[in-house]
């Protein structure tokens, strides 16, 4: 690395991140040691695995399929230790000094509010609502897939907690911006997009779906153009900050999200393909790239691609 000068700090929704790269929910986030590890590797912050009211084992294996380096399919089934057990994991990450966003999932608005309240009590910096898992029966898009659902859930949570509420919305919709607008109306401090795309893998030799759950969610490079479009469309319709997610593998990918309107990004599948060292590399490379392009601060690039469009 040559001289790295560009300022990658981002401030939004009451959060201050040392760089825009958050560990995405569901990756390395079930245990406190792993959250701490992602932070130590250079993540700007970490989002926990989505936590529910009760412990869940998730779906049986197979839960994962990969497509070369460009895609991954998963149906984990929201495994998590449950909100009673989880605070001890958060504590481990807190001792390591990590900036933590607590992710929760629930079956209705009241349960979301209850969970978010418990999550807030652990001292996390913000709470992210998983309104968007495409393969969890009774959760995810099944309860948070319409603007009405999003509005009701976010309103309940925003009324219950003092920390910023981030609504994580689905790309499996005709109008992602409408979901973001609903979240904004209901008091969300930010929206994050996208979760995985509803997808499936079939094995022709075995004549069956590969994943035990059948339907899963597609992540990785393949979904970057889709995530970018969601962020692009959301940015044009809401004033609250947007967190971009989907297929970020390089600093350039991240900057594409920023120029489309994101203030921060989350990184998931890249951790599987490259290891957690990806966070250090992304931060270094983004700093150079932002500098090369003549920006003093990353924040100056937020949404700039809209000006020429």
């Amino acid at each position: 690395m040559g001289c790295v000068v560009a300022d990658l700090k981002v401030r939004f929704a009451g959060l201050e991140l040392r760089n825009p790269f958050l560990l995405a929910s569901g990756i390395w986030g079930e245990s406190g040691d792993s959250l701490a590890g992602a932070w130590a590797a250079g993540a700007g912050g970490v989002v926990t695995k989505s936590i529910g009211s009760l412990p869940r084992a998730g779906y049986p294996n197979p839960t994962i399929e990969t497509y070369e380096r460009w895609g991954m399919l998963n149906a984990m089934g929201l495994p998590n230790p449950g909100i009673e057990e989880y605070p001890r994991e958060i504590e481990v990450a807190q001792r390591a000094g990590a900036t933590i966003v607590g992710s929760v999932f629930a079956g209705d608005a009241a349960e979301f509010a209850r969970l978010a309240t418990q999550m807030a009590r652990t001292g996390v910096s913000a709470v992210e609502l998983n309104l968007s898992c495409p393969h969890a029966e009774g959760f995810g898009t099944e309860v948070g897939g319409t603007p009405e659902d999003v509005e009701e859930i976010v309103r309940a949570v925003a009324g219950a907690v003092k920390i910023p509420v981030i609504a994580k919305i689905t790309p499996n919709t005709s109008d992602p911006a409408a979901l973001a607008q609903a979240a904004e109306r209901a008091g969300a401090a930010a929206v994050s997009a996208i979760n995985t795309l509803r997808a499936i893998a079939i094995d022709v030799h075995l004549r069956r779906p590969v994943l035990s759950h059948g339907i899963g969610g597609l992540s990785g490079a393949a979904i970057k153009p889709v995530g970018l479009a969601c962020v692009w469309q959301i940015f044009e319709k809401v004033k609250i900050p947007v967190i971009g997610i989907g297929g970020i593998m390089t600093a350039e990918d991240a900057l594409q999200y920023v120029m489309a309107g994101a203030r921060a990004v989350e990184v998931g599948t890249a951790v599987a393909f490259e290891g957690v060292g990806v966070f250090g590399r992304l931060a270094r490379e983004l700093s150079s790239l932002v500098d090369d392009l003549g920006y003093a601060r990353l924040e100056d690039a937020v949404g700039v691609a809209h000006r020429s469009a």
């Binding site: 084992a57 998963n74 094995d203 599987a272």
Partner: protein, 258 residues
Amino acid sequence: MRTVVRVTERVEETPSTVTLRFPFEPAAAPGQFVMAWFPGDDELPMSLSYTTGPSKGITVKAMGDTSRRVQAIRPGSPIGVRGPYGNRFDLTPRHILVVGGGSGAAVLAPAAEAARLGGSSVVVALGATRAPELLFRDRFERMGARVEVATDDGSVGVHGFVTLVADRLLENERFDAVWTCGPEVMMRKVVDAAASRDVPVYCSMERHMKCSLGMCDACALGPFHVCTDGPVFSSELLARVPDFGRFHRDPSGRRVPF
């Protein structure tokens, strides 16, 4: 990245252990594992008990429901295989103590074979519940390793845990390294015994696995992931892991004491 292969051979190694052989081209090293999918059933991490050539193998012990059903698999049946994953045993030590309990010999046998081929000497402490359950005893002997056994019921060898045998061997001989695989409480004892004699131990660890890609966090072992940082961990690294020998995590990520 998942290959569907057909089982070519099925060998009943012991009353509760079956080896399945299948064509699988990717290069593999002793210590590595695959995710073996038994269609219509679970996908499980399985050490490669045969790592060389185009015909690989896994050796499955009847533990729970799936592994019991797996044992009924016949030649010709399709299984899904992805991998190999994980790290490998370092083959440079010249005099090696191998301590295997239960199905642990599955991963230790190919490692010991490779070490013997490289000219190292190998002593094996092999444990089982009873004599017929001693896994790969012949195989260890055929490769020219000295084998000392222990059985819970005393039907052959030392009456009691294999750690008794390991302790005695560590006391009487100077080993460059210890390789072990078996119940974690057993491995913890081996590590403690070797530590006092300053011999490094390499443990093949098990945790619940889902992705095996270092992503889902199911296999978290302190700051490590067994699927990508392991499964072979040195006693030096394990010293930094409070979980070791104390708790593992169930599929929900909850801590479960041993």
